[in-house]
Symmetry: C2
Subunit: 338 residues, 2 copies
DNA sequence: CTGTTAGCGCCTTCAC
DNA sequence: GTGAAGGCGCTAACAG
């Protein structure tokens, strides 16, 4: 690894560094065809490749953004990442993906690392537990966009699902199909904002339809506790007739339990989930799902961040962008037999 | 964004830049307690954060590696990414994740970008269609490790599944359970090496058990063509009694078709897949799966690359590290009724 | 059209 | 114990 530099190219081609620099940056407005050819030739010959680091140091821009996801194992995260990458690539930006594992400490470490690496901005699916850090970024006008969750009173643009509506859609659909005793299980660890909002949406939908809220039908559990929590709920008198799974991980746990106990869907228990899953169509029975428009969410987040980066002044304050969920009706919530 | 530099800190603390540098790098062997405190104080006061770019430029190491995955939407990729990240973090390295979308052009772009950004090495799930580029990297001794696939005659260490054995395990299991007419569907686009090896493993297992190979039972299809291909296969006389899905995406398509046609598993058609899926346990019937040890594969890849980077000389040549698949027997391949 | 001259922010001898 | 000086590879005026 010899490391050919611009100076080497300049020397071999008998020109100065700046001429080479011009060439590399496609600024040959005033360059003779001949030197152009000569430089081109030399570059190939020496297998010269520019050092972006040096360029970035000079230009104070890395054309790179960071993305910190809560947990990369979630389908939601991957889809978001993929969209963000596509969007950024089009704009000539690169993406550094980091996985915080729902750990505020890791999140902090990554934010600091990314800033030290001079990335031009960061998209975060925040843990919510680094308030001071977030505030510091706002104060120093560092470009940041939140996705999936938000933090109250933080002047950081956030793009997220209309969670209340997502839960509301599910509940209303169930009510319309004759289910009145509806349980909801959410995941404590993840999705702080979403969880609260989804439960609110659930409650509001019930109240608006004159159905009383039974707190026993609401559970926030660790993924590992879902099965047991569901079991307890089903032993209540009367038990819920339908269950709303707060996200894909909960849904999977719910279905595992249903399988073990050989519960019939929907006759013994209707099921509906938030977050589309790969098997919803061919599961028996097919699963009714409230889907997030992940592509649009990711796209919006990228657009927002790039705009803030490019156009430093036009910083949108504390705006929250909400995206509409989509209800995919299948058979796991079919009209109740009465 | 003022951008506090080391010089600023030095000035405010009344010391020279180099002293600050020493401090930042924990080299206070010969530093007075007092200046130490003073520098510490100033750093906090000014909210100074070192510019890693400048440091990397000088040190010729970014302590960052790149990972280029074929397609980030695959569970396999995400799990690999996650493990690599964990492993690298422990070693103080950062990770840049890129998504090639099975497109050699994108792959090329990313390899060049990552090298320009001076990452210390790259882990690639290669498309296989950039031979010249790969060779160039070998020639210039750039640290690279392949995962999932390999490229013949390329002196690049590769860590992958024992694909022959994976398919072999599946076939033998089916044979043992009384299935003789076994079909296999793989995915053309993805997994060049794996596909070939899996089909070989499939054929060998049949031959070794004195079952003749029927080429009509072997299909390489685009994901979108899987349903139709399966349909055609099932119309053969005689039709296969069991189907081996070459990866998770194929399995999902197969199951969709099975659902549409209301085919009974395993009585009408046994099913077995390569790559564990979230729903294998609670699908009805539970699905027999040949699982890849993704964690170990990712871990090995990271270890290898870090070793090559750290210990430039000890470059392992053309080694292929194979990992054993695990057969998770469930009910979709239950003994045939005779 | 091309070369000269300064840095970007940090690290690293080598004097003092 | 600390400071001065040079340089990593590249860019950007400004001359010529």
């Amino acid at each position: 690894m010899k490391a050919v530099t611009m100076a080497d190219v300049a020397r071999h081609a008998n020109v100065s560094k700046s001429t080479v620099s011009q060439y590399v940056n496609n600024r040959f407005d005033y360059m003779s065809e001949e030197t152009k050819k000569r430089i081109e030739q030399t570059i190939i010959e020496l297998d010269y490749r520019p050092n972006i680091l040096a360029r970035s140091l000079k230009q104070k821009s890395t054309t790179t953004i960071g993305v910190i996801v809560a947990n990369i194992l979630h389908t939601f995260s991957t889809q978001i990442i993929r969209t963000i990458e596509d969007e950024c690539n089009e704009a000539g930006f690169h993406v550094m993906v980091c996985n915080a594992d729902d750990d505020p400490e890791k999140e902090k470490k990554y934010i600091e690392m990314l800033r030290a690496k001079q990335v031009d901005g960061i998209i975060i699916l925040p843990t919510g537990n680094n308030i001071a850090l977030y505030e510091e970024m706002v104060k120093s006008k560092y470009p940041v966009v939140f996705v999936d969750r938000t933090v109250p009173n933080m002047k950081i643009p956030s793009v997220m699902l209309d969670n209340e509506r997502a839960a509301g859609l599910a509940v209303e659909h169930l009510l319309q199909n004759g289910y009145e005793r509806i349980g909801i299980i959410t995941n404590v660890v993840k999705n702080v904002t979403p969880r609260v909002e989804r439960i609110n949406g659930y409650k509001n939908a019930l109240v608006n339809n004159d159905v009383s809220v039974n707190e026993d039908y609401i559970k926030n559990l660790e993924v590992t506790q879902v099965a047991q929590g569901l079991q307890e709920m089903l032993l209540l008198q009367p038990p819920p007739q339908a269950i709303l799974a707060g996200n894909d991980l909960v849904l999977i746990e719910v279905l595992k339990h249903i399988k073990r106990k050989e519960i019939q869907i929907p006759s013994e228990l209707a099921v509906i989930g938030i977050d589309e899953v790969s098997f919803s169509e061919f599961y028996e029975p097919p699963l009714t799902i409230v889907e997030q428009p992940t592509i649009e969410i990711g796209k919006k987040a990228a657009e927002l961040l790039l705009k803030i980066i490019t156009d430093k002044e036009s910083v949108p304050e504390e705006e929250i962008y909400r995206f509409e969920p989509v209800l995919n009706i299948r058979e796991s919530s079919k009209r109740i037999q009465s």
